[in-house]
């Protein structure tokens, strides 16, 4: 009734071409723990930020400036940091890959985050923040030193750069909180999210749905509405396309290597009982 076909007579198996980027695997537990170098960089970044802010405070205390100016500068920095995180996030989400100079590691990290959005909530703080803290330590220190060396008595300038760096470094923590279950948030964070002071979980969840082309800002999210309503990033994408011919990732069907991995998480949820690890969605709904 049935005949066996010799293997040599079978048609070759058509396999789909390998994805253009390697598919990031789920991070293992050790990769989520803080290492001593990560702690050191986080400390260095924190020290640079505190130094900048304390310079500002001491200038105010010395009477060279009223407190209103550095406070206004800090608020402006908080706003601008939200915009800056959005622009950077848009850039790494849409262009380049692991082999891109300078940004390759970050692009891979963002790709991994899109695949496994909830993993960020398992990262220990220094593990999560060290890359941005390193940037702050390396960039803020010379800027602050240059401001002081120029004889600047502007408390506002020190407050601006310090607050900007603080918001950018902490954006990764705000980002993690935007993925966290409500009941696991530290006290007060949910209120800050609801008030729009920190990026909300609902707003960030909108970014994690295809085609991943909205809600890029991750400090407070205050710029997201404006940027999305006026299609600012789409305009930038069109300009880049017409200037360079390069299409952003968000214009096309999301590659599997950038899509959220719900299959593996669902399968794991069915077989194991670890509540913290087995989340099917990157954003908790409770």
């Amino acid at each position: 009734m049935y005949t066996l076909t010799p293997r040599c007579h079978l048609q070759p198996v058509r396999r789909s071409p390998p994805p253009s980027l390697s598919v990031p695997s789920r991070a293992d537990r050790d990769e989520l723990r803080s290492t001593w170098p990560q702690r050191a960089w986080t400390l260095a970044g924190t020290a640079a930020i505190l130094s900048s802010l304390s310079t500002s405070a001491s200038l105010v205390a010395a009477g060279s400036s009223s407190p209103a100016e550095p406070l206004a500068a800090a608020l402006a920095a908080y706003s601008l940091a939200d915009l800056a995180t959005g622009v950077y996030h848009w850039f790494v989400d849409n262009y380049g890959d692991a082999s891109t100079p300078v940004f390759g590691a970050q692009i891979t990290a963002f790709q991994g985050h899109h695949r496994h959005p909830y993993t960020i909530t398992f990262r220990e703080p220094c593990n999560n923040l060290h890359a941005l803290a390193r940037g702050a330590a390396l960039a803020l220190t010379p800027v602050d030193a240059a401001l002081s060396a120029a004889g600047s008595t502007s408390a506002a300038a020190h407050a601006f750069v310090g607050a900007f760096a603080a918001c950018v470094v902490l954006s990764q923590q705000f980002h993690a909180w935007a993925h966290e279950k409500r009941r696991r948030l530290p006290p007060g964070v949910e209120a800050l999210q609801s008030a729009g002071v920190l990026v909300s979980r609902a707003q960030h969840a909108a970014h994690h749905s295809q085609p991943y082309n909205t809600n890029y800002c991750i400090v407070s999210g205050m710029w997201n509405g404006l940027l999305d309503r006026y299609k600012v990033f789409e305009a930038l994408e069109m300009v880049v396309y017409f200037r360079t011919g390069i299409r952003p990732r968000s214009w096309d069907e999301t590659d599997a290597s950038w899509k959220e991995d719900t299959g593996a998480e669902n399968a794991a949820a069915a077989t194991a009982g670890n509540d913290g690890l087995l989340q099917t969605a990157g954003i908790s709904s409770d």
């Binding site: 999305d228 006026y230 299609k231 305009a235 300009v239 011919g245 214009w251 096309d252 069907e253």
Partner: protein
């Protein structure tokens, strides 16, 4: 702010606001929908080398600062003969005797242009009912148009404006200080006279509603 709605017609395209040149009325910019991503054979690839490079849009300002395209309401635009998606030459004069909607768009397989083309497709019956023909024009070549039309099942003609010659001849204004080819639609009546011009880069679906309204009154 660069994105403030414009209420005058034929204004320099510094703003992303729609511009309508008909009966002096203009639409205000509304919240725009995001484009649906598409599966694309061009994903991850550079723009085909055969495509014309982005031209430097020549802008001339009158003393009042108002720029008007060379083709404006009330005139018969210059004829053109361009290749369609099948490589066949098509002349504008061929459509004399019926209303024609000529829409210039930036490029195939970009979010706004895909939305616009699909919107024209979805309303095509209404255009046919009004006796009108729809023609889309961009700088892409015939092969690109063919793939675009097949993928989205576009029932109308797409023409390849190589070197954006016709776009320049008609004076279609660019956007964002000339970095983007403009998105402008012309409605021609049965005599071939331009009766309406609508410009809106980032709300592409609005072109359909606006032009249908005019067609129904022709």
């Amino acid at each position: 702010m660069a994105f403030t709605p414009s209420t005058a017609c034929c204004k320099p395209s510094l703003a992303l606001a729609p511009r309508a040149s008909s009966r002096g009325s203009a639409a205000r910019a509304q919240a725009a929908l995001l484009c649906t991503p598409s599966t694309s054979a061009f994903r991850g690839l550079r723009r085909p080398a055969s495509a014309a490079p982005a031209p430097r849009w020549r802008r001339s300002a009158a003393s009042t600062g108002i720029v008007c395209g060379k083709v404006s309401k009330g005139i018969v635009p210059p004829n053109f003969t361009l290749k369609d998606q099948n490589g066949k030459p098509v002349s504008l004069n061929k459509f004399k005797g019926k209303p024609v909607v000529v829409y210039f768009y930036p490029a195939d397989e970009t979010p706004g242009c895909t939305k616009q083309a699909c919107a024209f497709r979805d309303s095509y019956e209404k255009f046919k009912k009004a006796g009108a023909e729809v023609i889309g024009i961009s700088g892409d070549d015939a092969a690109s148009h063919k793939a675009f039309a097949q993928k989205y099942r576009l029932p109308f003609t797409l023409l390849s404006d190589e070197g954006n010659r016709v776009r320049k001849e008609w004076g279609v204004p660019g956007d964002l200080f000339g970095t983007l080819p403009g998105r402008q639609t012309y409605v021609l009546d049965k005599q071939g006279v331009v009766q309406y011009i609508y410009n809106n880069q980032f709300q592409p679906e609005k072109h359909i509603g606006e032009t249908l309204k005019i067609l129904q009154s022709l």
